[in-house]
Symmetry: C2
Subunit: 214 residues, 2 copies
DNA sequence: ATAATTCAATTAAACGTTTGTTTAATTCAA
DNA sequence: TTGAATTAAACAAACGTTTAATTGAATTAT
């Protein structure tokens, strides 16, 4: 992929994440990337095809790491859970703009079939990988028979609820809104990882056989 | 509030939830509501003020129920947690369009100060109410010293991760996409409530003193 | 080695729609 | 008769996309 094409993609990524797809004009993107307006159509064909290309471009990031985690037989299911949390929190915090685009796009039905399918494919890939780890722990009688898809929703939803709105996160983390990206991300990472590890440990541990009252 | 004004608000709500604020035109809204285009400016002044009015209109829904829950001294903290889950799941599933708008709007910074403040105020209200319940349980030595804001993120995030995309939810629930709204919501409600009750029971119970390995 | 050719890259300008908003005339019940 | 409600029409600006001309570096021919 040419440098210029990639530069347009990352420029668009930044704007889509901040202002949304419909809130971003092709002229915004051209200006942000420092290229002529017509280059977007020239390279991608249309604004929607540009979004499609962006998803294609980013969807490949970090492929394989989770597969490796699953195949590593020297790790206990508990180790895998901890590494899973580390991996997801880091990956999302290091790709905040793209994650915010996925966050927004998965909530709308008004995109091309290609885009909708790509978005859902990414979600299903996450679901599958985490499912394998939890199911393995259940088979070894270490984990309770929790609702796996709901547990995946808990992991992703917890992270998303703190990555979608920087204003809100900064309030919770007691940070000023103009804190540097690096400080913000590392504080949030520590907090999210610690919480999710405690949460999943209590939630999954087969020794915690608790029943809701109702 | 006049009938017509309210009718425009609910028409806009439906469209904003489906297509997003920027993806919805004032002409879309006028057509959906069956009123003349100029009536939107006449009643609300602008498209953004209409969104502001919508948030104002909906923000009041179910005010007071949580306060009541907090004041009810005959309920144990565990009872309150279960009722909290019931309340939130039902409230969100019965107000899906508005919840989806909040979901989208909390992810963007490109709205008027008034709108951004209203959105964050709603989030803080939720945080405060749940905080009181959990802190009460902690004081009574029933709950562990969990990270309360993160736990609130887990509750809201888990629900949101299954309300944002009907396509994804239907895949998980093994439902066809054209299932009736009623069936869809009741199935999802059962699943979410059960999961969240189990999750919070294990997470909060002071007897589950587990430490992450790392 | 130089000139001619070629074609992808780039540009400014324009295309026809659609956008949010306003205007000025009209309706209609009080 | 008054004034709020409603309308069709128009507004300028912004939208996504296309066009047609131009650049410029690599390739080919002389």
């Amino acid at each position: 992929m040419s440098d210029k094409r990639e530069h347009i993609l990352t420029s668009a990524e930044k704007l889509f994440a901040e202002k949304g797809f419909d809130g971003t004009s092709v002229r915004d993107i051209a200006q942000q990337a420092g290229v002529n307006l017509a280059m977007i159509s020239y390279y991608f064909g249309s604004k929607e095809k540009l979004l499609e290309a962006l998803i294609e471009f980013r969807a490949m990031y970090a492929y394989g790491i989770l597969e490796e985690l699953n195949k590593n037989e020297s790790l206990s299911p508990w180790d895998k859970i901890d590494r899973l949390v580390e991996f997801y929190v880091d990956r999302i915090l290091n790709n905040l703009p793209f994650h915010n685009i996925m966050y927004q796009e998965s909530a709308t039905n008004y995109r091309s079939e290609e885009i909708k399918q790509k978005v859902i494919k990414i979600k299903m890939r996450n679901l599958d990988q985490i499912t394998k780890i939890i199911a393995d722990g259940q088979q070894r009688r270490l984990f309770r028979q929790v609702d796996i898809p709901m547990t995946v929703g808990t992991i992703m939803g917890t992270i998303s609820s703190y990555t979608q709105s920087r204003t809100y996160s900064c309030l919770i983390l007691a940070l000023q809104e103009d804190t540097s990206d690096e400080t913000y991300r590392s504080r949030l990472a520590v907090r999210l990882k610690s919480h999710l590890k405690h949460l999943l440990r209590a939630h999954l541990d087969i020794r915690n056989e608790v029943e809701p009252q109702s």
